[in-house]
């Protein structure tokens, strides 16, 4: 694939793409309804609220009821998209997600925006770093973490075809449109899939969400050093694209995972678990190392928690050492 100039790609927040696409699918499918818990302006469900006001329900600051209402609507044939910040929909309402939605396998689409430390100055209380772990652990749940607006739009559309619940993880900050027409020009994304951005024989970076762009930048650094590095956007944490992950592990023999999430239970956990049972190779995990975030600018926080391209680049060397 062509070498991307990441700094020059248009920037878009995944939450903005979500709001726009929700309107598009809502206009096409009358089963679509949306709910929010007083954060519609932030999650961008407000765009849907303007376009389809009769099908939008603001439940106020009551996330448990948000999930329960969505479950009831789904039990009556609607396809609800329930959104609030990632930590609240997965953490505050965890047991409602489990009992009312996932256990009966209802088609509720849970949308968690402002995930990870790039929420920024709001600090640890608002920075979801365990949401992927929580949602992965729940049976019947599909877990998606798109890297840009293009992937987000496609996954919102494909969520309609998933017969059960979906957790869609979105970010607050703008990210480069790596799949846009000025980027890789890719439009095909679906639950259970992945996007191979680069293939390499020395080591493969498996990333999701905002870390995909960092992974690409890290791979370019390593390519310039003469390494053969793969990059796999593993936007579907569950179901995992096992065959593609396995092929990458066999091709390169070492893996670095990169996520804006705890290294426990998220993408790194999913990859390590899968490869331990199928094709054990060294797996080095980039993410928050069992620590809460804090206030700061998004870029500062990525730097502080060692989530930048240069940190991934260093992890590649660690993976290569383990491989040898």
């Amino acid at each position: 694939m062509k070498r991307l100039d990441l700094a020059r790609l248009p920037s878009e927040a995944t939450r903005d793409a979500y709001g726009q696409e929700l309107v598009a699918i809502g206009r096409a499918d009358p089963r679509v309804v949306a709910l929010d818990a007083d954060l519609s302006g932030s999650t961008k469900s407000s765009v849907f609220a303007k376009a389809c006001p009769e099908r939008f329900f603001n439940v106020g600051i009551a996330e448990q009821n948000l999930v329960g209402l969505a479950a009831g609507l789904a039990a009556a044939g609607k396809i609800p998209f329930a959104s609030t910040f990632a930590i609240f929909i997965t953490g505050r309402a965890f047991e409602q997600v489990r009992q009312s939605v996932a256990y009966p396998n209802l088609p509720v689409k849970l949308v968690g925006s402002h995930a990870g430390v790039t929420v920024g100055p709001d600090g640890a209380s608002h920075q979801a770093i365990e949401d992927l772990a929580l949602m992965r652990a729940v049976p019947n749940m599909t877990v998606l973490a798109p890297a840009d607006g293009v992937a987000t739009r496609a996954l919102v559309r494909s969520a309609l075809d998933v017969p059960g619940p979906v957790y869609l993880r979105l970010g607050r900050s703008g990210v480069p449109s790596i799949y846009g027409p000025e980027g890789l020009d890719v439009t095909s994304f679906a639950a259970g899939g992945s996007q191979t951005i680069l293939e390499g024989t020395d080591v493969t970076i498996i990333a999701c969400g905002v870390m995909v762009a960092e992974a690409i930048a890290a791979a370019y650094l390593a390519l310039d050093d003469g390494l053969s590095v793969g990059v796999l956007d593993c936007y579907s944490l569950k179901p995992l694209d096992g065959p593609t992950v396995l092929a990458a592990a066999r091709r390169s023999g070492a893996i670095v995972t990169a996520e804006e999430h705890s290294v426990i239970g998220g993408l790194g956990g999913a990859i390590a678990e899968f490869l331990a049972e199928t094709n054990p190779v060294p797996v080095v995990r980039i993410g928050l190392r069992d620590t809460f975030g804090q206030s700061g600018g998004p870029a500062e926080l990525l730097e502080h928690y060692e989530l930048r391209a240069k940190h991934i680049r260093a992890a590649l060397d660690r993976a290569l050492e383990l491989k040898a």
């Binding site: 439940v59 009551a62 448990q64 329960g68 009831g72 609507l73 039990a75 489990r98 009992q99 256990y103």
Partner: protein, 291 residues
Amino acid sequence: MTGNHGPAVLGERRIAEIAEIARQIRIEILKMTAAAGSGHPGGSLSAAEILACLYFEIMGLDPANPAWPDRDRFVLSKGHAAPVLYAALALRGYFPREWLATLRQLGSPLQGHPHMRSTPGVEVSTGSLGQGLSMACGLALAAKLDKARWRTYCLLGDGESQEGQVWEAAAAAAHFGLDNLTALLDYNGLQIDGSCADVMGIEPVQERWSAFGWQVCEVDGHSVSELLTALRAASLVRGRPALIVCRTIKGKGVSFMEDQAGWHGKAPSAAELARALVELDAPEVSGGGAA
């Protein structure tokens, strides 16, 4: 099919028929919990008349077609009272009565708490307390969106209303004007650790729900005629949801279970089942209990 458009005044005979159904529901509750060796007879027995009224007189249903889109919906928010729901569904013809003997067994369609994917006629999955009223609100919202005429009924426990989510849902139901929703509170006054008043007071019940914007009335939850009158009145309320506070006795119908918190989550032994069935005037079925 029964519907909620029947005559406003019921004859004594129909009331006696529904009371008889409640007696049969009680018999099945006792038999199935005894056979299972576990379960929640106390809070199931307290709701026998409530379920009998809903399933045999009030709700529009088609047991042969559980997915009939215009059916009325029932949510058992106090999911541990699954035996009373299963008994009503079996007697109403949703599934064979023989299924009741499999309650809580591996592979049974009758899970320990109601699960919509396991049992015909179960509308949502409950068991973790406090969540059912939210789901009932979602169902009622969907009916409003579709301009459909079916109603949603939700049975809450008294102890359950200590859960904060119940009040999130109570506020939402009033805010969205869900006059197609009737909630019933099984107010038997007892929870696992003792009386609700001692564990965590829930009074003043009527004032709390009224303050949240609900139309509230109180009935003797074991009086079929009072329940039917209140349920019909609730369906006529416009602009807001209705709550019927049902004053009940936990373990109702079995002298040694009545008003005893200890029978919240304990199954009767074979001997206790036999004694209970005699009290329910059903000694002939006592052999069909514990295996």
